[in-house]
């Protein structure tokens, strides 16, 4: 037997397909012919008996599978998913979707910050012609009042930037720490929130009492 000739035939897709087609033709014809002969040999009653016999042994689809596969079940599942999505995304305020008690604590202690002209006086940022520290705290505070988690993150960014860049410590430092603490709390970052609130409490100035009481509540909340 010439192996190279065999390899040539096998390497050609057309040859292989032709070979396959021929083999199937030979085998299939023989099989069908024999089957037809067998069918010819039995009468209708026997054939029906064979049909019934072939039915036995096929596992029935369990009811739960039928329900799961039904279009009704699929439509119901799609509806539930839609309702959950709408409920989760649109109609429930941020604080309520955050199931932790931190959100309710935030709501209890949060008040919006209003910058006064006095706050901006001698502010290095203000002198440089940019927004004053007080104005930035007000921006951050406004962002915190909104539902979106993205705004909370943005608020944290502003306040952290202020802490890093407000090298000339001002009387507004406790405000920054306070709002940053609240922002962390709203974002669910308990440890960071506690650190900021500890700083506010230690200053003994504005928000110190609120910080102390909030720290107690955080401590009590598991």
């Amino acid at each position: 037997m010439n192996k190279s000739k065999i390899n040539n035939i096998l390497n050609s897709d057309n040859e292989l397909e032709s070979l396959l087609s021929s083999a199937m033709h030979n085998v299939g014809r023989a099989y069908d012919r024999s089957l037809i002969e067998k069918m010819k040999a039995i009468d209708e009653d026997d054939f029906r008996a064979e049909l019934i016999k072939s039915k036995i042994g096929i596992p029935k689809v369990p009811i739960w599978k039928r329900i799961v596969r039904s279009n009704f079940a699929r439509a119901a599942a799609a509806c539930i998913v839609c309702v959950l999505l709408i409920w989760g995304i649109g109609f429930v305020p941020f604080a309520e979707t955050n199931s932790s008690g931190y959100a309710s604590m935030f709501n209890k202690y949060y008040t919006e910050y209003n910058a006064t002209p006095f706050d901006a006086k001698n502010d290095r940022l203000n002198i440089n012609g940019e927004k004053s520290t007080a104005q930035l705290i007000q921006d951050a505070s406004e962002l915190l009042s909104q539902k979106s988690r993205r705004n909370t993150k943005r608020s944290i960014e502003i306040l952290e930037w202020l802490l890093d860049n407000n090298w000339r410590k001002t009387s507004l430092d406790p405000e920054i720490h306070w709002y940053l603490g609240l922002a962390y709390l709203k974002d669910g970052q308990k440890a960071k929130a506690k650190t900021q609130l500890e700083i506010v409490r230690a200053t003994g100035k504005m928000h110190a009492d609120e910080a102390a009481s909030l720290l107690k509540e955080i401590g009590a909340y598991k």
Binding site: L20, V27, I36, K38, R48
Partner: protein
């Protein structure tokens, strides 16, 4: 395709495949699809007994013929005209090219290598596993279009059939190589 010429085995192997196909194509309930299979099978038996179907005038596999008979019955059932007398007199029609072309048959010349390959291939095609078995038999024996093969095999679409077919041909080639390298 199970190469066991036993009617029981044939019917068993066809039943679930045909019922699944009918349910998918005609959106029939399991019971209706069962009925169609039952009636289709009996119609095949009757056609054989009445001489309308012989091994010589069969232009596709018996398996495909049976499925087509069941489809005809399902169509009639859907249209509300599923009368037995009409069904039994149906002529078998393939949706694709059901003829096995003569050119595909290798002539029995003294080409020893080709003959050896053909015998080996005959062995291989009898022992193929699913889904290659169905895909290759429907493609090369029944010459069905790929969309129809997709429905019969429960595949997504014709492209899936095409990619599966390429994989199956690769396997087949490897099998043939292994047979001839072992000798």
């Amino acid at each position: 395709m199970n190469i066991n010429d036993n009617i029981d085995v044939f019917l068993r192997s066809q039943r679930s495949k045909t019922i699944g196909f009918l349910q998918k194509r005609y959106r029939l309930s399991t019971e209706d699809a069962e009925d169609c299979f039952q009636e289709g099978s009996v119609a095949v038996w009757r056609n054989i007994h009445e001489g309308r179907l012989t091994a010589d005038n069969l232009t596709c596999s018996l398996s495909t013929y049976l499925i087509q008979c069941c489809c005809n019955h399902a169509s009639h059932m859907i249209r509300g005209r599923g009368r037995d007398s009409e069904f039994e007199s149906l002529e078998y029609k393939m949706t694709g090219d059901g003829e096995v072309s003569d050119t595909a048959v290798v002539d029995d010349s003294d080409d020893g290598e080709r003959e050896a390959l053909l015998r080996a291939m005959e062995e291989v095609v009898q022992n193929m596993t699913s889904p290659c078995r169905e895909i290759l038999w429907y493609t090369y024996y029944d010459k069905l279009p790929q969309t129809e093969i997709a429905q019969m095999c429960g595949l997504k679409n014709a492209d899936t059939v095409s990619s599966q077919k390429v994989r199956c041909m690769k396997k087949l080639k490897e099998r043939m190589y292994s047979i001839f390298n072992a000798h």
